[in-house]
Amino acid sequence: MSERYVRHPDLRLADVEGDGVVLHLGTRRYFSMTESGLILMQALETPQAVSDLVGLLLEQYEVTPEQAEISVRQFIDTCRTADLLLPEGK
């Protein structure tokens, strides 16, 4: 079974003209996100697998499954580096 991720419990989100802003209460850092990043981050309130997030992008945007998966994996890598996402159960 593929690994699932969930957003860090210390995150708070804001929608500013369609774009996203993420505030990390623990690190007190502030991040900007694209509209698609905000959609993924909102979904990640509950655990999601890469395939779930890819499906979400395919519903919202005209992209190929390959492009969507590349975007999702980049998003996850970036967010994990910034401590915004956690593997489920950690």
């Binding site: 708070r12 929608d15 802003v21 505030l23 007190r28």
Partner: protein, 306 residues
Amino acid sequence: MMLGASILVRCDNYAVKTAIETWLTGLSLDAPAGLVLDVVITDDALPEVTDFVFEQPDVRFARGAGGRGLIVVWMEAPAVAALLAADTTASIRLSGEAARQMDLCIRTFMMSVLIVLLRRVGWYHLHAATAIDPQGRGWLIAGNAHAGKSTTAALLAANGWRVGADDAAWLARRDHRVVVHTPRAPIALREDGHRLLARDGGVQLTDRGKVGYTPEDLGGVWTPLVDPEIVIFTAVGTSRTSAHPLDRRSALAELVRWSAWVVLEPDLAQAHLDVLTSLTRQTRTFRVTLGRDLFAHPNRLIELTT
């Protein structure tokens, strides 16, 4: 009801109770009812608090039991306030040493406790001066301690603007707007601002090294409430005053910076962030560099932001 009297003070020590009530009445904040400052003076050792999650000059904050609620600690003398999650009572224990420094205790520790307490009823503190221009538009002037907020507030008061406080504003929702409640507090000028304003009078705030003016001292009028339409984030520069519009994401980043309490108490953080976000939607926001030309042309702020 007298403004500021909506916050109940419980304390067996008459002098301390009177000092706190006098301060609250002087602030003239029309705060929601139900807030309580429950103060005990004790010579017992106060609990040692560690693992601070947030620090201000002289005051530190730690999470309460189970990670919820908040503990506020004064660093100048032993004094601790405990606020249980969602509770609108602050249980405050002051040492005799703290009680003997009530002026300083009120200005730093008690003010921090008040900020935390008001957040529980949807009042969110922002480091900002407030004003209403001659056309009736509400302004917020945000920035750090050397960003020219007080001098600008004094200058505007002297030029017919209504002015609230120079460094404390509480954002709150009213109907479909975010409004700003401001305390009654002197506009406190440092030596350089005092010299530039070139006004006689004022009250020496000797313990702060500043001179305090009310808006009325300067020919203006104090306003307790502002409906903001314009927010400026200021810095003092050496050239002419200039203004640059901010996009909403940048404006929100600035508001988070000057309303840093947003990171405290995770249970309240989303509502706090939502109010800041709403403020970016209802206002036009600018980064403003303040120049000395403003003293000759204070309404240049209006010209630059219109």
